[in-house]
Symmetry: C2
């Protein structure tokens, strides 16, 4: 069971200093002589002392805890993001509390995270009631969105520049000599998807090409396959397909294979590991996920520490087109 913790008081007694000195030794910006600091730090290490972050948080009103709300989706992209966010949070001296949104109680987990005095909440899911978001305001919990966009809240949004992604896709197809474009993605619902479509659509027209067609698909393999089937069976003579993400793109390729079709230029978004697998060789727009996560955490901690107060920002990063066989 739980062993009795060694406290700063114990250390102080053992080393013949006051308890505050022990506290100061562990606080880099406290005024204490170097001599004493090393003496205490070494002594504490020898005795196996570790400061109690809970007690520190209680008094300092800063827990260093950040909750990450994420979908239980099968898209590896989200997990990668969550892991990267957690790493960045740790690098900043905090810790990430993982809040997967399970079907049942949508946000009770996050409600309880608030009881742990989380300093911030990063939302990487769309399935979150605005109730939670309102509580962020109420409790003063800083809020960030990753690749999500919800207006009207004191939050910033960090993610891929979807506008640019749509443009890049159209430009790439055009450069490759394609002239009849299609877009596959969810209809309504996803703001991300809508932005990609809008830019892709606009740029296609700017290039003097015909109106691109839009095929509806949710974010899974099967939907991508169905989209391919649908396109094959239609009368459209499309030669380039922009898929809202790699999962759909891979599904689309699977659909083509199944019907022994080909001849389309295909681009996805995300550059999940599977996109590079030999069977797919899916060209894709790769978001700078490391930069996005780092930037999101930086922004969040900036607000937590009161360095920047600004909210309502979209901090966007351009993706890079990874050209593969598709």
């Amino acid at each position: 069971m739980k062993k009795p913790n060694l406290t700063s008081n114990d250390i102080a007694k053992h080393l013949g200093v006051s308890q505050s000195m022990v506290s100061r030794a562990f606080n880099p910006k406290a005024s204490i002589s170097d001599e004493k600091r090393t003496y205490i730090l070494e002594g504490a290490a020898k005795l196996g002392y570790k400061p109690n972050a809970l007690a520190r948080s209680l008094i300092s009103n800063r827990s260093g805890l950040i909750a990450i709300a994420l979908d239980s989706s099968a898209n590896p992209m989200y997990d990668l993001q969550a892991r990267m966010l957690a790493s960045e949070i740790q690098a900043k001296g905090g810790h990430a509390i993982l809040c997967p949104i399970s079907n049942g109680d949508l946000d009770s987990a996050i409600q309880r995270a608030f009881e742990y005095q989380v300093d911030g909440l990063i939302i990487a899911t769309s399935r979150l009631s605005s109730n939670v978001i309102e509580q962020c305001e109420q409790y003063g919990v800083c809020l960030s969105f990753i690749n999500r966009y919800i207006d009207g809240f004191r939050a910033n949004s960090v993610g891929l520049d979807n506008d640019d992604a749509g443009n890049q896709a159209a430009d790439y197809f055009f450069k490759k000599g394609c002239s009849s474009f299609a877009f596959v993605g969810s209809e309504g619902g996803s703001m991300t998807c809508e932005l990609r479509w809008n830019a892709f659509h606009r740029r296609t027209l700017e290039l003097g090409l015909a109106e691109p067609i839009r095929i509806s698909a949710s974010f899974d393999i099967e939907s991508g396959m169905q989209a391919a089937e649908q396109l094959i069976n239609s009368s459209h003579k499309v030669d380039a397909v922009f898929c809202a993400n790699d999962i759909i793109g891979i599904g689309f390729i699977e659909g083509l294979k199944m019907h022994n079709q080909g001849g389309y230029k295909i681009i996805g978004v995300d550059d999940i590991p599977m996109a590079s697998w030999p069977s797919y060789q899916l060209s894709t727009i790769k978001p700078p996920t490391d930069i996005i996560c780092k930037s999101a955490v930086e922004d969040l901690f900036g607000r937590i520490n009161g360095n920047n107060e600004k909210t309502g920002n979209y901090i966007l990063f351009k993706g890079t087109l990874v050209e593969r066989a598709s």
Copy 2:
């Protein structure tokens, strides 16, 4: 910035009761009249009060925080596990702290998690220094392994029954009329892999078949592909291949495709979503991940709450063979 928190004291004053009564109202097994409890609970909710879990943890010496150490591997299996573990922990009233093991400082993140008084640590990676594990003993942090096996520590290990998996693979191949088996997996290092090989090997001999050959491969697509190439170029007339996991299995299939080869029965382990993708149709041994995670968390909380003290156990669950085209 951080708003001043509403405390139980504030609530007490507002409602004209003592602070202890507010505390009791929130503690299901405290002695308080139903009348008062509902009165306080409703009043608190109206005022927007939430108890401070940090303060509770400080006094009760139980944080409800569980750290999950996981690799930053590209295997979707690990992320799924992490998410499921987090959900189970939440279901038990706790919270999961995500500790991805980044390349640099192997366990400094976990060291710091100890400062947050985590009640337990679930290890889902092999890249963890035993230093951390020793600290678990020292600090009285309960320890669990998921699909990992390290002896000599006060910990339990929950996961797939690798023995049974090896047997199932050999039996399945035999049933399908195959007679010359190969195994692809990492050499040394992974205990998991070793157990699967051992059982597969033993059962193959028990079936009266020839010694299975063993091809070395690390846990990534490329290694799987190389293994296929190696087998193709060798003189072995293998007709069935047991891959240590799905990633290797998919790589193996990719390798075969690349050389226009076929005719092997192939089985993987994990049943990651990609195994069912049309291009692979990889038969696989599917671990009951939900049960494994639930059981791991249950066992861990059992020890944390002092209900069961037993350690050194292997809690194993049999996988089910998912038969696909491969």
